[in-house]
Symmetry: C2
Subunit: 486 residues, 2 copies
Amino acid sequence: MGDAQRSARADEADGDERGVVETLERALPGRVLRRAADTSDYSHDRSHHPWAPAVAVVRATSTDDVATAVRVCRAAGVPVIARGTGTGLEGGANARPGEVDPITGTVPPRANVVIIDLQEMNRILRIDPDSADATVEAGVRRSGLNPVLAREGLQFVAGPGVDASLGGMAATRASGTNAVKYGTMAENVRGLTVVMADGTVVRTGGRARKSSAGYDLTHLFIGSEGTLGIITELTLKLTPIPEARSLTVLSFRSVEAAARVVQRSLQAGADLARAELLDTVQIAALNAYSHTDFRETSTLFIELSGETRSLVGQGERLDAIAESEGMLERRSIAPDDQERVWQVRHDALPAAQALRPDAYTWSTDVCVPIAHLAQCITETQADIEASGLVAPIAGHVGDGNFHLAFVLAKGDDAERHRAAALYRRMIRRALSVGGTCTGEHGIGEGKMSDLIDEHPSGVPVMRAIKRALDPEGMLNPGKMVDSRGE
Amino acid sequence: MGDAQRSARADEADGDERGVVETLERALPGRVLRRAADTSDYSHDRSHHPWAPAVAVVRATSTDDVATAVRVCRAAGVPVIARGTGTGLEGGANARPGEVDPITGTVPPRANVVIIDLQEMNRILRIDPDSADATVEAGVRRSGLNPVLAREGLQFVAGPGVDASLGGMAATRASGTNAVKYGTMAENVRGLTVVMADGTVVRTGGRARKSSAGYDLTHLFIGSEGTLGIITELTLKLTPIPEARSLTVLSFRSVEAAARVVQRSLQAGADLARAELLDTVQIAALNAYSHTDFRETSTLFIELSGETRSLVGQGERLDAIAESEGMLERRSIAPDDQERVWQVRHDALPAAQALRPDAYTWSTDVCVPIAHLAQCITETQADIEASGLVAPIAGHVGDGNFHLAFVLAKGDDAERHRAAALYRRMIRRALSVGGTCTGEHGIGEGKMSDLIDEHPSGVPVMRAIKRALDPEGMLNPGKMVDSRGE
């Protein structure tokens, strides 16, 4: 549906808004929130992008609930947005505010969309230790899943530091610190149950470890951010818990040296389980926030995992490479302290925020071919220096992925514009070396123009797929790709 | 385009057939074959599915050539089929014979399609050892690529035993013996150049190790068998050559015991590089064909790879599990003999064919959750026994994938029907435990009805995507999904 059509339908829906909500309440009694005070919490993610309270929230408990809600909303012409934990960083689950009415000059107080909240779909439906797979509802979180899997010696490895829902992680194609060894959500999901724009239920993939049967719908829905269908269940690939893990913290004079250690280790076939880079500003922020005493210079957190005996040999090789790159210091973290040190790393964003009083953070995300990583980071550091902004850097260096966290004063629009301009340059730098505008945070509404810059020939294909699967623009409108400009 | 429309257009094209070929010759001088004797070799794969000589073959040398050919053919309404080495097993690249004319009762002698042969697009465009990636044209074969990569200590790991082209492997979502450790083509391709049905050129993915930027077009084209676009270039993920490899051949009393060894090893976190199962009939065929003396019982070929020191520990664990499952014999293959023994394994299909004089083989392909593998194989063996057919079994047991090779007498239709019925039962068995009708051979024209059985809710979505990206049915018509029955 073109925007003109959508607007026309949205206008009808404004008049019929109460009608939709009442139909939803009849169809799903007790599952619908409608007061702005109640829907607000569900109407935005953790980004700085604008939002308004949705007209209603459906707290779904099953795939059938989701299908029912989609059908009711479609009949009324009111779009829907699927939502997990709301921990996204690009506005992917935001209810977008309506536009200024050209006659009255007012903005509608509510976003004319219905949020379908999936957090109560949190059942683990099946675990098969022999085939190392499980099927879960979309609202299950890793924190709920992994303790249950651990009883079988298994784990689910993909995902960010934040305790997101599996459905949201799949919809965003999330990854995190484990991706260097185990891959992203794309490599760890075998099949999906998806509610389509017309309310039909589609099952993709399956339980086999591989398949050549038909178009790869599983990967199409992974990363589609709820714009092609709503993921309600996932079949996950599980991984044995390794016998042992080692964690070392290595300090270097420069980002280049640290990045080169990881690059050379991977080239030598090292099986790095995690390889995290923190720049001087970020490590200082961690020290202040978590009361640690890491040397304040370019730092790697390296985890190895596997059979106990193999870790010794792997560690020796890593040390040899690190020494040849001028390692300043090496701390081996005792097994009992590893969890705590990883928590220090996962607190990078709040630690950054604590660098300035009354500040907020804006987390960025690019990913480049690993040989270009050091150069991209150091050029970005020089840009930060020149701009006078506060912006520590943390990176999943084994993937070539790094985040810069702008720490911005609330209400300072000029500073924010400086940050936005710097971010544009950082993205252009990433694209110029064959990288991507987002390694793991997604497009949402924040990076729609960057997506066009990155995939000028691909976006028309993406739009054709969007029109084919959601011709009326019912699913998460105004995100990812848009029919505007066609 | 519906079939009625396509037929109407095909009728026009029949009259205009010479016109298309002449336009192609003018646009791509010296690159067009037109005599049936010349086009026949390019008009079929290695399957038993029917074919007819295409009206022309374009031997493309660049993405531009492919785009030009597609545009000329589209203007004339003549569909195109992309072709690599023609080593497919499900008719994916076959030029389908025309249908019987209801008035004259004759079948057109030529298939009204143009084959675009990509084998001369065999340049390695770029290798970056530091980022461990490369970009190649679609006609490059692993046998051409890996010796060049080896100079940098790198390898490309995905792919079947046959020396197929990288483009064809991607289009079929191929895998092979390495998939248990390294994944399939889906996990080893980072980006593609694709010529679309209207002749536009699309670039998907990129060089970053991960990305959340937009719909995953790379995975959509991988496995689409040339029905959504023609892959002309690929950016590949490369893998360091391991320091050492070990190969052991383990003999067991039963398929169950052999399969359980692999399943338990994977559960224990073993990093198996290859895990191949051969049943008694297959190992006897290998012995006869390759003059080897393996014990004629259920057999595993297990490869471990990595650092020399780690192989010892891994091997000890594997042996302990194998002994607890009643291993009958264990042969450690000396490093210098490993290549030769793998060649024996890769010759499984000709070895099967040699079991009967003047026979042909029909290679099948299902994949199931690994816990169901032994049961699926033994039930299939019982079915073979009852049917009186000759059909050895070889399996990529670490993936739950196995092939049964029917060895059939030429011209014996009754035997072939018995084989087809047995294959249907084998597929139904796989689907009933959550498996797939094809682990790595693809759908082509041989498994279109099985695809519907496996993905009853997914096929309508696949058809919607096909219509969106190829509305006129220009690309590999009558394969994979079809608009018939809509």
